[in-house]
């Protein structure tokens, strides 16, 4: 069966992919449908959804268009999710590969280091890091990456440990390939599928983390994000619950879609496991 056929067998994954494509389309269309800054005040504040034509989700406490904020926010969420996951992979994959391949003292030292980061409560660490570095897209990306790389390192290490004594690795060693070549060319390609699955789930977690940080007021003050919208509307929840409701639904759908796609990727990339599981 082809990769896509196996992926499509998981109906949830198809739904997830569909939602995800819709959100990506939202992000791409934002600059065309709402070319003006989502921070601009365009109507009187506290318009309910559908109250005035052209403002189908209403306006917020400052008279900003909620729909414009949602569309621009999609871009920010996806971007921060993707970039921070990439940075986490850049930290976690090399650490895990070196620890798993060489073993011994290096492995011990690197794993103690990883454990240290796993012991610190993720969210509290992210808050402290962003607060100290000052809120900006860069500091948020860095903070999310710093709290989310340990599972990557552990996964890659486990894969490397189980692969390093395979025959093809021994053969590569026998023909005189260097450790670097063996790690990069022989073993790493064989660990890609679990890494891809983990990465898709990490993007989802990163989006949740970003929204939580923005909710607490640690978002980049120059970009409109879903978490910020909820946080800003928190104090007026009694008068205007919809201001918090819609951005929350957007976060929920994005994170749900990414999780569904991740499960589908898992089925498609690890067909043997999928069969065992069902």
């Amino acid at each position: 069966m082809s990769f896509f056929a196996r992926f499509a067998q998981n109906r949830g994954a198809l739904v997830g992919l569909f939602i995800l494509l819709a959100i990506i389309a939202m992000a791409m269309l934002a600059p065309f449908l709402y070319p003006e800054s989502p921070w601009r005040m365009v109507q009187r504040p506290f318009l309910a959804p559908m109250e005035v034509d052209g403002f189908w989700l209403g306006t917020d406490t400052m008279g900003r268009d909620v729909a414009a904020g949602l569309m621009h926010g999609a871009w920010v969420s996806l971007l921060i999710g993707l970039v921070s996951t990439s940075v986490a992979l850049l930290i976690g994959v090399p650490l895990g590969a070196v620890a798993g391949y060489y073993g011994g003292l290096i492995d011990d030292a690197l794993m103690r280091f990883t454990e240290f980061f796993q012991t610190i409560p993720n969210f509290a660490l992210a808050i402290v890091l962003v607060a100290i570095m000052q809120p900006s897209v860069t500091s948020i990306v860095l903070a999310i990456a710093i709290v989310s790389w340990p599972p990557v390192a552990r996964l890659v290490r486990a894969e490397f440990m189980s692969l390093r004594h395979r025959e093809y690795v021994e053969a590569a060693r026998l023909v005189g390939q260097t450790n670097r070549t063996i790690i990069l060319r022989q073993i790493l390609p064989n660990t890609l599928s679990p890494i891809i699955v983990l990465a898709s789930l990490m993007v989802a977690t990163a989006i949740l983390l970003e929204s939580a940080l923005s909710f607490l007021g640690l978002g980049d003050p120059n970009v409109m994000s879903w978490g910020y919208m909820i946080g800003a509307a928190r104090t007026v929840i009694r008068q205007a619950w919809w201001l918090s409701f819609f951005p929350g639904v957007a976060i929920l759908l994005t994170v749900l879609a990414l999780n569904l796609v991740g499960e589908g990727l898992d089925d498609a990339l690890n067909p043997k496991l999928a069969r065992e599981r069902s």
């Binding site: 409560p121 969210f123 100290i132 909710f215 607490l216 007021g217 999780n259």
Partner: protein, 325 residues
């Protein structure tokens, strides 16, 4: 004997980790924007130059960096977490005053999520190819994907604003002057929404873990034997599968429980629950770095204590591990 040695070893490890966090905190203060003297004073912005010079001298900021580090570490070793100028109190007193509320909230949420998660997970495992099993797993995925702070806000809208069933803010009714049993009841009423919303996310995790762990255990030979003996499916599920599946759940639950402290920051912020999570939010808003780092240290310490407890429970539940070590 072995047990005592184990506890000592774990405590030693905990001290090392906490020591590293203190050093980490020290360098974070150095990295913070502006003059460290201004941060230690709790003032981020223009301050009198002469005052800052005095501060630098008082806190030893004119000393070389290793001397400063030594002062900082030895201060914390003597439980001196500095002074919160914004709140006008020692950081330690502020945190200790708020700690019980957080312990009550996270403890309740932990028990609630673990109990519900194990029940839902084992129901899903027993109905693996039926629609009812799929519905449980779909719900678990939904709760897993929902932002914690958003569920909390929506719960306020539904249960406090529209239905008016439960209080939305605080830990007890201000000015009601309840005592004794009435006070307990009042706090319990205030606890329902924060604890449930915090528990939902973790319940989702435990549900998925329980199901996976039970499906794995159901492949074992002793389950086949039990089935061959003609035991009722319900008995096999409870006595043979669930019991053996519980062990990995305890370990993972302990690790996840640490993250509950993080979740409490969001829930406490929404519900104005007077714990260290809410305190952290206040520290953030006031840019009170001393207090922020103090809370960070305490939340890490809480996680470590939690992990040690789970480790001990795990060893009590499974004697085989004691022999192995």
């Amino acid at each position: 004997m072995l047990y005592a040695r184990l506890i000592v070893m774990r405590l030693l490890k905990a001290v090392v980790v906490l020591f590293l966090i203190v050093i980490f905190n020290f360098f974070l203060i150095q990295m913070a924007p502006g003059d460290p003297a201004a941060i230690l004073a709790g003032e981020a912005g223009a301050t009198d130059e002469e005052f800052l010079r005095q501060l630098r001298e008082r806190f030893g900021l004119d000393q070389p960096i290793y001397v400063q580090l030594w002062r900082y570490v030895s201060g914390i070793a003597m439980l001196d977490f500095g002074w919160s100028y914004r709140q006008g109190m020692p950081v330690l007193d502020l945190i200790l005053a708020r700690l019980p509320a957080t312990l009550l909230l996270t403890g309740t949420a932990f028990v609630l999520s673990l109990a519900l998660g194990i029940v839902a997970g084992s129901m899903a495992a027993a109905r693996v190819k039926k629609p009812s099993g799929s519905i449980i797993m779909a719900l678990a995925l939904l709760f897993y994907a929902t932002p914690l702070f958003w569920v909390a806000l929506m719960a306020v809208v539904l249960f406090s604003v529209f239905l008016g069933w439960l209080p939305a803010y605080g830990m007890y009714t201000v000015g009601a002057g309840h005592t004794g049993f009435a006070l307990v009841l009042d706090v319990a009423k205030h606890l329902i929404l924060p604890a449930t919303t915090l528990a939902l996310f973790f319940m989702a995790i435990y549900t998925r873990m329980t199901r996976a762990s039970m499906l794995e255990a159901s492949q074992q030979d002793y389950v086949k034997t039990a089935r061959a003996k003609g035991l009722a499916p319900g008995v096999i599920q409870r006595r043979h599968i669930l019991r053996n599946a519980l062990l990995p759940i305890i370990t993972l639950a302990g690790l996840q429980a640490g993250q509950m402290v993080g979740g409490a920051i969001l829930t406490e912020t929404v519900f104005a629950w007077p714990g260290i999570g809410r305190l952290m939010f206040e520290a953030l808003q006031q840019r009170d770095y001393n207090l922020l780092l103090g809370i960070f240290f305490f939340s890490a310490a809480l996680v470590i204590v939690f992990n040690i407890i789970t480790d001990l429970v795990y060893r009590l539940a499974d004697p085989r591990i004691k022999e192995a070590s």
